[in-house]
């Protein structure tokens, strides 16, 4: 995955634990007065339509990354505890539609 996206070792372990697949995509947030901004999010699941993503395989992991997020210097890490552990994307600015 190298240049595509950086994943910490603890995030890799978490993804493997969840099935070995991760999707990194843009999640829209609507403003109350209109407007839209996209937030980069990571989930340990497969995307609904894999053909819309760049696919990367490495170290038993299959990654699906939204084209706009490939090679952006982003880092995926895991935080939280017990059942509240979740992946997050660090280093991303918000983007528009």
């Amino acid at each position: 995955m190298g240049d595509a996206i950086d994943i910490t070792s603890s995030a890799k372990a978490f993804i493997k634990q969840q099935g070995g697949v991760m999707t990194v995509r843009l999640s829209p947030r609507h403003g109350c007065c209109g407007g839209l901004a996209n937030v980069a999010v990571a989930e340990a699941t497969s995307p609904a339509d894999p053909s819309l993503y760049h696919r990367h395989c490495d170290e038993d992991l299959t990654l699906f990354i939204a084209p706009a997020l490939v090679g952006q210097g982003l880092r995926v890490d895991v935080e939280g505890f017990w059942k509240l552990r979740h992946l997050y994307v660090d280093g991303a600015a918000l983007s528009a539609r």
Partner: protein
């Protein structure tokens, strides 16, 4: 943590469409449409005002839920787990939003509306306007900050955390702050009425949004939720806002026609407050050497307001025809131009901030 700091800033046309860029114009048109509706077809607001259950206007409740629910449904409370990532940014934002902003709003509004503008505004109306500004001051922005953060190249993960944290605090802090500040302004509102407003317009939409989010993501997946469900319900908020304003001004017609200057007078303390809060948080972030992509969204959230909640609370506590409701709407009227001015200031001063943080 290493963060990207893109020096180029997006133009407002990227994050904001025609509707939101010209929100002030649509609000002004809603004011005119509402006044015309109230004057030409007075039966419409009169009929709507009859649908009440336990002193809660059903049409108002439906409109307010339509405005607030989509915003609550997009809050990701799991992001709260990231509070340790930018603790300094969160300390600034939380302190300014809840320990400074409500009180400076009260002080500035009191100075202008009750003292400086005393010759222009009758005392009783001035204290109603003050009540409206207090409601605005106690409700920091909850959704629009994503757009302001985008326009200033804000850190997405930090913006998510600060919005979730802010909404959680609002659940507990809004009512006590409002009751306290209204109390020292000699505006008596019963605790149970304030509590009912909080339950109706914060707790219920927040719980409904959370349950909807969890249930639908479990059943259909997060991607479907974001790209299909939220895409459908997201635009309901601004539509609900405009319909509420039309209805509100159908009741407010006489007040506006008799005192058109009052809108300008109410706007003055609101404008001063917006700039003051922005510069307090932004200056504090600069003093603590926070990166710009944390400083800018951290300062924007307090400068902007959660109008839907303020409008809802003003209507619930003081009624559609109240000066308090009018004051909260003036907040909506000046919101976008003011915030875009702050976006420009933030983008022009980006070079004063460090580019990396740990």
């Amino acid at each position: 943590m290493t963060t990207q700091q893109d020096t180029s800033s997006p133009s407002t046309t990227e994050g904001m469409g025609l509707f939101e860029r010209f929100l002030s114009l649509w609000v002004a048109l809603a004011i005119v449409a509402g006044i015309l509706l109230g004057q030409l077809l007075p039966a419409v607001p009169e009929t709507l005002s009859r649908f009440e259950v336990a002193q809660v206007s059903i049409p108002v409740a439906v409109l307010i839920w339509a405005m607030i629910f989509p915003m609550m449904a997009q809050i990701d409370f799991t992001s709260l787990l990231g509070v340790r990532r930018q603790p300094k940014g969160l300390i600034i934002t939380t302190s300014v939003n809840w320990l400074v902003k409500p009180f400076t709003m009260f002080a500035i509004s009191w100075l202008f509306l009750m003292v400086i503008f005393r010759p222009f505004i009758p005392a009783e109306l001035a204290s109603q306007y003050l009540a409206g500004t207090i409601l605005l001051g106690a409700a920091p922005c909850t959704a629009m900050v994503f757009v302001w953060s985008y326009l200033t190249r804000g850190d997405a993960a930090y913006t998510l955390v600060q919005v979730a944290l802010n909404d959680l605090i609002m659940l507990f802090a809004f009512a006590p702050i409002v009751v306290f500040l209204l109390g020292i302004s000699n505006i008596q509102v019963p605790w149970d009425t304030v509590a009912l407003s909080v339950v109706l317009y914060i707790v219920i939409p927040l719980a409904a949004g959370y349950i909807t989010r969890q249930t639908l993501i479990r059943k259909r997946g997060a991607e479907w939720y974001d790209n299909v469900f939220m895409k459908r319900i997201g635009p309901i908020t601004p539509i609900g806002l405009i319909i509420t304003l039309v209805l509100l001004f159908a009741f407010q017609g006489e007040v506006i026609l008799n005192n058109p200057l009052h809108i300008v007078l109410i706007a003055i303390p609101l404008i001063i407050q917006t700039f003051l809060i922005f510069f307090i948080a932004y200056g504090w972030a600069k003093a603590w050497q926070l990166p710009h992509n944390v400083a800018a969204p951290g300062a924007m959230i307090g400068a902007s307001n959660f109008f839907e909640l303020a409008v809802a609370a003003a209507i619930a506590l003081f009624g559609f025809q109240s000066g308090a409701a009018l004051a909260t709407v003036v907040g909506v009227l000046v919101e976008v131009p003011l915030m875009l001015a702050l976006v420009r200031i933030a983008n022009k001063t980006r070079h004063h901030f460090p580019t990396k943080t740990h």
